[in-house]
Symmetry: C2
Subunit: 495 residues, 2 copies
């Protein structure tokens, strides 16, 4: 990392900004519709101290309002600058003078306009931050959420992000609106520790945010919605920190084509770069690159739940033969081995599954077994116990209240065997009964598509193989062998 033009900021350097004990809202306002009013509303659940700053008011709601940041009688960790662009630069200097830990700048109209004087304005803003050491998020950001302290520092009318579960996702997005749209996964129970939107990233960029989250114990997995950056080596260095911290870094790269790259330049002023180059570099760095925007959060949520696979093989268990077929298609496409069950497991399956089902892998237990829960539970337990399988894939076909009944049972079973059950959702009732129940189960991962499910399982195997280090190639050869033979080899150490 010595070769980076700017070293990565680590946790301590950003802690006051991103995990503040006190927040000043500069441009606070009681006027509905104003940014400064929306932020105060969003800070209603904040468990720190809030200081509105605006010379026009003595108080806003129940809070005393201060004429300037310098007048606030407390150490301010995070100063939100919610003013028009023209006022930002002098205020940023005042923040430095007041010893503020970090600042967030909402205003747009900087480098993303492409106008030379606006680019220069952004460079000056960045210089204020760098010269002083005051961290700066933005400009052109919609803000951030730190769920640990209930700080939703944004003007958007966002869905509240509750306190994180023990293994939460830290989300970083250059795009503000998309970042907040992804965070709406809280509505079905995905847990986030942080939602950071970096906008034009003139000072703190996505790489700094990744480095910060790599150090943060509340974040188990890092998800990035990434456009591009001028020094991609920074992101790769941050990826190495995430790898060392054993936190999967899941990335969706936007602006993969020429049209998208042109648009990115006028969005956050980002250099999109070559997608092929990014893809290769990410792979070398151990980054899980998802091929669809819509797979980013489900894949991150999967990694937040999944233990390291104890075997690369996956057993498919479906109540619908059609679902079993589609799962097998995608397993093959992504190179996920589907070993056949060992004789003892096979005997259990054959005893339970009717002749018109399929007691092999993929396993079609048929609707008959679904209606006889004990049979299904026995089949699932036998497969979870089998050493040849590192995970189960159980497609969620039809959404109904009845189908949710046994999710806690499968969840417990999976936990007992230290494996994950992956459920691609196959009903067009997208948030129908069973979706939330799966997402909220500790050992069940919900996917919106069959493809994203097996891409994630393949990525988990790949990460496990990469962790083995020099034996990586051997592991890959083993995977190919078991794919052909249909059974699992003994596992390499540390995996």
């Amino acid at each position: 990392m010595n070769t980076l033009a700017r070293p990565l900021r680590r946790h301590q350097a950003l802690e006051r900004l991103l995990h503040p004990a006190s927040i000043a809202v500069i441009g606070a306002s009681p006027r509905p519709g104003a940014f400064g009013s929306a932020v105060l509303r969003n800070l209603g659940g904040y468990r720190g101290r809030v200081y509105p700053v605006n010379a026009r008011y003595q108080e806003i709601g129940e809070l005393a309002c201060y004429p300037s940041i310098g007048a606030v009688p407390d150490r301010v960790d995070c100063a939100l600058i919610a003013t028009a662009r023209e006022a930002v630069e002098p205020i940023a200097r005042e923040c430095v003078a007041a010893g503020v830990g970090g600042a967030i700048v909402f205003a747009s109209g900087y480098a993303e306009t492409g106008q030379p004087e606006r680019v220069a304005e952004q460079v000056r803003l960045a210089a204020i931050a760098r010269d002083s050491g005051m961290a700066l998020l933005g400009p052109n950001t919609v803000g951030m959420v730190n769920a640990l302290v209930g700080a939703a520092i944004t003007f958007m009318d966002i869905t509240p992000v509750p306190s994180p579960a023990p293994r939460a996702v830290g989300l970083i997005s250059q795009s503000g609106a998309l970042g907040m749209a992804l965070a709406q996964a809280v509505t079905r129970g995905v847990s986030f520790s942080h939602v950071l939107t970096s906008g034009n990233s003139c000072d703190i960029d996505m790489a700094d945010c990744v480095a910060y989250l790599a150090d943060d114990p509340a974040c188990a997995v890092i998800a990035c919605l990434f456009e591009g950056m001028s020094e991609p080596e920074r992101l790769l260095a941050a990826a190495e920190l995430a790898w060392q911290a054993d936190k999967p870094l899941v990335v969706y790269k936007m602006a993969t084509g020429e049209e998208g790259a042109t648009a990115a330049l006028s969005h956050t002023g980002s250099l999109a770069g070559s997608y092929a180059a990014y893809r290769a570099a990410f792979r070398r760095a151990g980054v899980v690159l998802v091929e669809d925007y819509e797979s980013l959060i489900p894949t991150a949520s999967f990694f937040a739940k999944a233990p390291k696979p104890t075997a690369p093989g996956v057993a498919i268990v479906a109540a619908s033969g059609g679902a079993a077929i589609m799962a097998a298609d995608r397993a093959q496409q992504h190179g996920v081995p589907l070993p056949q069950p060992n004789p003892a497991v096979r005997a259990i399956l054959e005893a339970r599954i009717p002749e018109f089902g399929s007691a092999r892998n993929p396993c079609d237990v048929t609707a008959q077994v679904i209606n006889d829960p004990n049979s299904l539970i026995e089949c699932v337990e036998a497969l979870l116990a089998a050493p040849e399988y590192g995970a189960l894939a159980m497609p969620a076909v039809y959404s109904s209240e009845a189908s949710t009944r046994f999710i806690p049972v499968y969840d417990d079973l999976a936990g007992r065997y230290g494996k994950i059950i992956c459920s691609p959702w196959q009903s067009e009732w997208r948030d129908g009964p069973g979706a939330k129940e799966r997402e909220q189960a500790r050992n069940v991962a919900l996917f919106p598509t069959v493809n994203s499910c097996f891409a994630a399982l393949a990525a988990a195997n790949w990460r496990a193989g990469r962790r083995v280090g020099p034996r990586h190639a051997g592991w890959r050869r083993q995977q190919r062998r078991i794919w052909r033979r249909g059974r699992s080899p003994p596992l390499p150490p540390r995996c």
Copy 2:
């Protein structure tokens, strides 16, 4: 079609079975949990005459029950055989003797078991149907829905399918559970005329069903979840009927790999065939082949709404720069041209969009314009009116009640200009506010992913080009030209 081993059944030949005025439930039962009980419950909304048949009962609920199909004092159009497999064959013969129009067989355990005597049993069942001319759906089917007459002839506890809208989707699936899971799109307002699950397809197969729907005025678009069949030429011949009827035929092909194909054989006894061969044949036949299961219904619903494109170009309008970038990425990937707006339109955009947005295509109107609905409406109207655009893509980024307010305005505008507005859904709140409202709008198409949205737009352009006939190649060349030049050519005739 003279070369087919079995000619396709057309509408008239299947009408009594698939659009029945009277239904007999053989194996009817008052016992909760029995197939024959579930079917009677599902027929609660049926607008025809229902006759339970079971020698054990004199009446079931308020209906008289008959000892045999021959004892029913009415012409029975559709006989549902809800008995165990062993009883099916003699009952099927009784149905023939009673002059029944068609039969549905739920029982499993036929050719899908792979056992020679069971294969023979299925062959005999098929012979009963063919020799008599009585149409037979199944065996190993979960049944069907004809929404025109409210007939849900299935044992599954399905989400009710309401009376179809004027341009409804006809859905056909070999897999029963997946077919019903796809039909759960009714929960957000997708309209279905029929849901037909063909199971082992021993008599009526997917090709017959396509031919039937091609003739049915209630169905505007045909969606197929397809595993495979022994005589694929039949499906291609049916596709030709759909093409002649100007009904898009949208197919997802399962069992694309070797593992999936093996599973298909034990699911519905289908020969999966080579995916590459199917893909090529479908393309020649004008079939829209979707690459993901999850795109099938959204693509069909799009085609049910979309007028023929008057130009291949698409304008992207987003309130989020990130959403604009991703849309542009996928447009390029699928070869959907993004011509730049003509000078008059550009002037309107520039007057409305702030400098930090983008008054080009893709168009980033920014959050500022979203908060000034009149500006956005003017931009949208200018783009809809521009001859260089056949459709608009407006990503739905953040799900909120506020975002739903203007959907009716855009819907009306799109209708006025005879174009469709496509909305890829980008919030992780999958059924959040705005999803239903878009799905239910006449001129707005909702997509679960950016990729499926542009794949569908590309397919609509491709179909329009194919309809031009011999000038197809010229149309393709034009498309390539405008992609480079960024503007639309005059359109070929008839498109």
